[in-house]
Symmetry: C2
């Protein structure tokens, strides 16, 4: 399925570069490579999964339109993929999502429906809308086609690692519900078994790390309270977790402050803009050296949709 998704994504998704800098290697104390998915269409890897899912629908179903729930990056991915398919899209977003993400989603042609995280049930709202208008739900992570689309990042990492002569490494992956992590893990299992996938989350929201330790799905008490808005999910998915459990090494958690420092160093030495949730993997590589044994790490920088004021605050850390 990942290979089939890669064929459908060819010419649509960007093949993002694998970046590095001797200055980051020095901070980390090991070789660090960064898979810059912030340079993907719509500013995050989410376009891949959205395109994979939409392109797998039969044309009549797709023409009726799609609906998605998202704090922002999945929203932009689905909106953009729908527009490129000529299909309508409805995005259900929390009212407290960053304005830059809401605006971008609307500008990409989606109809945005806002809801209150505390008082409204997102799923009820979305289901009612979907039923009334015949829309197909594109789930953010617990969907095989979405996971297959995100897995194309893993295929590219496998090829780029081989080109750099990297046979063994930890692959650190920013993790919310686990769609990107599961997709990459499956791709690496088949194409680069020497590369070990590991999830990275914000401290206090390490449901995946705890689930990997306990062997069953653990939940976060809350899904607000970190600047890493893109990856604050309640728990790993029912489809993603068994994959993560089978293939991933121990999870790592990083502080918001370390994310901001990683964003500053990425801007300075790699010339890329990361959002906090897209910087957790790099933050782990740079500031959690004690949790890593591999001589080489490949960090997935999953997104760059950050409010200018947050980026400005991060740049003060250099």
């Amino acid at each position: 399925m990942i290979e089939a998704a890669a064929l459908r994504l060819n010419g649509r998704a960007r093949r993002t570069p694998l970046l590095s800098s001797p200055f980051l290697d020095e901070v980390a104390g090991r070789r660090v490579f960064v898979k810059a998915e912030c340079l993907q269409q719509t500013g995050s890897f989410k376009f891949r999964g959205a395109w994979a899912a939409l392109s797998a629908l039969d044309p009549a179903t797709r023409a009726r339109g799609v609906i998605a729930f998202s704090s922002g990056n999945h929203a932009q991915g689905v909106a953009c993929a729908a527009r490129l398919h000529g299909a309508p899209s409805v995005i259900v977003m929390p009212a407290d999502a960053p304005g830059v993400k809401i605006d971008a989603t609307r500008a990409l042609g989606a109809e945005v429906v806002l809801y209150d995280r505390e008082s409204q049930d997102r799923d009820d709202l979305g289901e009612a809308l979907a039923e009334r208008r015949g829309l197909t739900l594109i789930r953010p992570f617990d969907d095989p086609q979405v996971i297959a689309g995100q897995g194309t990042v893993g295929l590219e990492i496998a090829e780029q690692a081989a080109k750099h002569g990297i046979g063994a490494a930890d692959v650190l992956i920013c993790c919310g519900g686990g769609g990107l992590s599961a997709g990459i893990a499956l791709a690496l299992e088949a194409r680069a078994p020497g590369l070990c996938p590991r999830t990275v989350e914000p401290e206090g929201f390490d449901d995946v790390a705890r689930s990997l330790r306990s062997g069953r799905i653990e939940r976060n008490d809350r899904t607000t309270g970190s600047i890493c808005d893109a990856i604050l999910t309640a728990s790993p998915g029912r489809i993603t977790f068994p994959v993560l459990r089978r293939l991933c090494g121990p999870g790592i958690a990083v502080s918001d402050e370390d994310c901001l420092r990683a964003m500053a160093l990425a801007a300075r030495w790699l010339k890329v803009v990361l959002e906090p949730g897209g910087a957790v993997a790099l933050a782990a590589a740079l500031f959690r050296a004690d949790r890593i044994e591999a001589e080489t790490v490949i960090c997935v920088a999953s997104g760059g949709n950050v409010a200018p004021e947050t980026l400005r605050a991060a740049l003060k850390r250099v």
Copy 2:
């Protein structure tokens, strides 16, 4: 020579992506693509020319070491290329160059010699050093191998444009002494004759635009006074100018303020960090629409080595 340089650069220089965003297209009123050379090794295209020049030296000459004069990006390119060749490098830099560039050059293993722009003659200083120590001078732009190395950007643009189905476009190039512009112009002449190279400079430092108009080499009165430090050269080179004159369309000049706005939009929509001198081409595409007739423009974003405080100031423009 450009093709030969491309072979020597293969696996050493990054093949940088061609980025775009519908939001930038909207600002510009036409299709805009950005060749993100800020993602190149050392943060600018200069690594290409430096590698091309060093790799063309005979091994015994190279082993004695190289010397370069540079406000920063050429310095880092030469220092990095020398280190990767195991050769010593001496970089003669103005004492008022941004600290981030001086530090990075030293950290790349170069010996940095500072001089005062107003009171000291850079060329005399460098020549004395070169003679005493048997160093080979790597010129920043008026050198055939350096031009050939920078021309590999043009080969990549030709290939990437073809992949995107772009048969005709203006290619806007950030221009100091003209090495990058001449190299790209020569590559496009051979590989993509429908793409028209055009130089972009800071207002008040438009020696190339004036030279193209008058047909002879014109000079700037001064080489300080714009935030675009990377491209403040006195005049086009004796080798580069005839190439520019034969192949380039009219030059364009942009204000410092428009560079800062372009930097903000590049960070917001493309997730890349540009330095002011690396943003002039994008600034022309976005804010000098009146100077452009082509339906599609390809902007070379030539570098991203910017002080964090300058980037923070730019981000206030969004």
